[in-house]
Symmetry: C2
């Protein structure tokens, strides 16, 4: 049986803009690997652990802004992609997940590496396709081509995300007749559209905006380099408008509050009305700050407008106050709005800025006298990491600490805040570094690092990659969130890795290892860590911090801020 449809697959996805494929070794998918390789139009990277491969492809796709193809063998391989697929779904990162399969007649007939792969990602996928087993009839050819075309487009429209192509392959697998360029490549195109609010509807919103004495804009996660900033600055040049920008928003306009957790700490119920906006305007993806979610849920602003063109997210009501979904791109709507609204007399913005400045001074005072802990380590890192670095912030400790430092906004930041799992932060950073646009540093906690240590089992780690591992003995997040510290019986189940450091793993995989356990050592090793590595390998810096007192330091920090 000819497998020429595999050449067709490679040709169509390349023609539709896919340039990179991350493949994992296997037998069932080997013919497709060969076809991808022979196409000459796809850059292939081999990653053996599909869990890591999935996140590596995600990291590549974040940088490219278009889908990266994943290709694995049949069976549980596909399930190991699931964490990255779910992350891509919720973070809205385009991925084309191709899983080789047996033909339908061989499912559940006792053969190895065979599971029911159709709809296996159904809870977290844009669309799933089950391809015909070959393109031997005109109908098959048309069906196959049409589905591959649609699959690539569905990774981008109407919203970005992962799409599943299940690819059954019949035996003999290796009797290939691969044409490098099949004659009949059918390309169906799809044009990108902007979602603009019609003039009449816009006028009504403008009237409400102008009438409102206080507007709070909250920007969630956005990739760096978007074209929103100019219009947001114009909209925010208004004393009645306060702007909160999370570290992950990569969007910092003059006067915006970048350290939300620090700023809003200690607002009492009595003070609440003074800070409650008439209109809350939100856009971007996930918001990291649990404190701002809790605050806004308590405030219940009279109006909450959420800008989001993704049909899967209509009626996303994070603050239990949603009044209006604006199914538009944030840049499009804010440009429309900013062009026509008028500033209002108000002390609303000033009120937030006063609070922000008061807490910033406290922040400085606290850190000036702080002992070595997770908190001071982050302060040091955000001063010392080179400016042009793209920072990947692991879950959950690193991303939460970053939110406390204005300096973190010096960097382009990335974080897997779709599902907010700890499962693939280092692999994601490795994939981003492989694209090579920018130097990449990932900051991870010890649980996140060990969880994803197969990120290092990889023959393609770029030498520019820097991994900073803050090892506080594991699971400190559970000491910091309110509650668990009152239950001593939890201790054995949160202290998961205190016996281990990462030196052996780093050496095992040829990654240069640096370590520090105090401030002077940290300052001493950082230049070498960021310098050129003689052996052209990536480098890992493990910083040992005290577990219990780091958790204490953070709690005391927040007490001190409001004291």
């Amino acid at each position: 049986m000819s497998q020429e449809h595999l050449s067709l697959l490679a040709a169509i996805i390349a023609e539709k803009g896919i340039t990179h494929a991350v493949v994992s070794p296997g037998s069932r998918n080997a013919p497709a690997i060969i076809a991808f390789s022979r196409s000459g139009r796809l850059k292939l990277t081999s990653i053996p652990d599909e869990r890591s491969a999935g996140f590596y492809a995600l990291g590549m796709a974040q940088q490219l802004g278009r889908a990266v193809a994943l290709l694995c063998t049949s069976g549980s391989a596909a399930l190991n992609y699931a964490p990255a697929v779910a992350e891509a779904y919720y973070q809205k990162v385009p991925l084309l997940v191709i899983t080789a399969d047996r033909p339908a007649e061989w499912i559940d007939q006792g053969d190895g590496q065979t599971i029911r792969q159709q709809e296996v990602y159904s809870n977290f996928i844009r669309k799933s396709f089950h391809l015909p087993v070959n393109n031997s009839t005109p109908a098959n050819h048309w069906h196959f081509s049409r589905m591959v075309n649609e699959a690539v487009d569905r990774t981008l429209f109407p919203a970005r995300g992962p799409v599943h192509l299940n690819l059954p392959l019949a035996e003999p697998l290796y009797d290939l007749q691969l044409n490098p360029e099949p004659g009949d490549i059918r390309i169906n195109k799809l044009i990108e559209v902007e979602h603009r609010i019609p003039e009449s509807a816009l006028q009504e919103l403008v009237a409400q905006w102008n009438k409102a004495g206080s507007k709070l804009i909250l920007a969630g996660q956005l990739p760096p380099g978007h074209d929103l900033k100019h219009w947001l600055c114009q909209l925010a040049d208004d004393p009645s408008v306060a702007v909160f920008t999370e570290t992950t928003s990569n969007l910092h306009v003059p006067g915006s509050i970048r350290c939300i957790d620090r700023t809003i700490e200690g607002i009492t119920d009595e003070q609440l009305p003074g800070y409650t906006p008439d209109i809350l305007l939100t856009f971007g993806a996930a918001v990291v700050s649990k404190k701002v979610k809790a605050l806004l849920r308590k405030m219940k602003p009279a109006q909450h407008w959420h800008i989001n063109p993704d049909p899967d997210d209509f009626h996303l009501d994070t603050y239990q106050s949603l009044t209006l979904t604006i199914p538009s791109e944030a840049a499009v709507f804010i440009r429309q709005l900013a062009a026509v609204v008028t500033p209002a007399q108000s002390d609303y913005r000033a009120c937030w800025q006063l609070l922000s400045e008061r807490h910033l001074i406290k922040h400085g005072d606290y850190l000036a006298n702080a002992f070595f802990s997770d908190l001071t380590v982050f302060e040091t890192l955000f001063r010392q990491i080179p400016d042009d670095t793209h920072l990947h912030l692991g879950n959950s400790t690193p991303i939460r600490y970053a939110q406390l430092f204005d300096e973190a906004s010096r960097y382009a930041t990335w974080s897997n805040r779709g599902t907010s799992g700890i499962d693939g932060c280092v692999s994601t950073a490795a994939g981003a570094a492989a694209i090579g646009k920018h130097p990449v540093t990932v900051i991870t906690g010890d649980i996140g690092f060990f969880y994803d240590s197969n990120a290092l089992w990889n023959n393609h780690l770029p030498s520019s990659l820097r991994i900073i591992l803050i090892n506080n003995g594991g699971g400190n997040i559970f000491r910091v969130i309110p509650g668990p510290d009152r239950y001593e019986e939890l201790e054995p189940y949160i202290e998961t890795s205190h016996r281990f450091n990462a030196e052996g793993i780093a050496k095992n995989f040829g990654v240069n290892y640096y370590s520090a356990g105090d401030q002077p050592t940290l300052l001493k090793v950082l230049p070498g860590f960021y310098g050129k590595q003689n052996n052209n390998q990536p480098a890992l810096l493990e910083i040992f911090t005290p577990a219990v007192s780091s958790a204490e330091a953070l709690k005391n920090y927040f007490k001190f801020i409001v004291s």
Copy 2:
């Protein structure tokens, strides 16, 4: 809000026979961890990587013959269980998979660690339950109790496998009012039944059996220690009956053919009719031998009876010859059959035995002159590993080599042949060793080892565990199966780990490391490796074998066998 239903959960599952829970750290599931811990009736083990935790629990459940509970936090944690859940489904191992979740009203509302968890395992689960968020009303209490009761029973009846309990928990998570023993525990019992063939139907099958001049019995995977052997011996004491027992069947009756691949190698189309049975009788789970599957599919025996009480496997037609499904336990039906059939005059058994003996002699001749390779390493191991060891055989190389050695049947064997993935073999062995009934050795290839290296990131590795890692530089299985060697472009995608050995990982996690790269060293280190470790840690033996010549040696072995 009281979380007393969590005490109820712990009490019901303990009352219904669950003794062990494998928990992974998290916030959403922390109240359940506390409740499980306070129940005093569950032995808790904490494993941070849910992928490894899933397989660890699977390994425990294999030994216990009843469900082990898994408990993880919300979000992608649940997805990391998926490979083990699928393996448990296809291997028929009872698992109770408990995933903490947010209440339904908070799904897809922008909060972290939140995915659509309901039905997330739908392609490979016995049954899924979505529990009520508390038991505060009598209806809730009844509903909650009833579902937990059913969930535990569905891990065992009508067939073993994984069951999913999705457990939404409302905030505040840590305002617990946990009663150690809730007053109103409702237990619904379910009695085990045997599936017996009625006398009239049996008589008809007996008549066909007695009439048939040749019967081939093929035993697939079975756990050690089942009660089938006596009756199978009686049924097989018949010259018209040949018995094939795979290594994983743990069932070796006098005269049975234990090395199927070696025996059937080289049977020509002309010889086929002489070996084709009138009736093929099969039972047990997965069959490893691809060669016997191909042979039987070519033979197409006139009748194929498959014994299997699992409704999910009715009409399982592995050999494209199925004529009769016998929905009974193998031990029950074979006892019924053996008690009444009569032996027939035939040279069918002798014919197979002659072939088997001829190839056994060739096997000995070949190995007597073989250089050091994967093949000779397995020969050595099956002579040197202590007798009372339970062997865990990784996918796919170790399990396939084991099938070539009669000596492998000295050991109780286990292998994840449900999905036949490489993803959790070491973790499974670690879980089995933790139960402590037997000393456990796992034999794994290098890809399987590195894939699952988080098996070692575990504070609970029993000192009795022995890990034998055969490092041939990665992916040699793809050199051995027919086909890929003809495509040089596959080389970079199958050679996945040649730069790496496991010493650093072993040292990282405090596992004693041994290594050997030739036969004398191997023989020298084995006694120390199997001896008591002074530091009471488990031990890992890495055996370096030549990649290309190991693949050649295996190909030449099969050529020599039939020469």
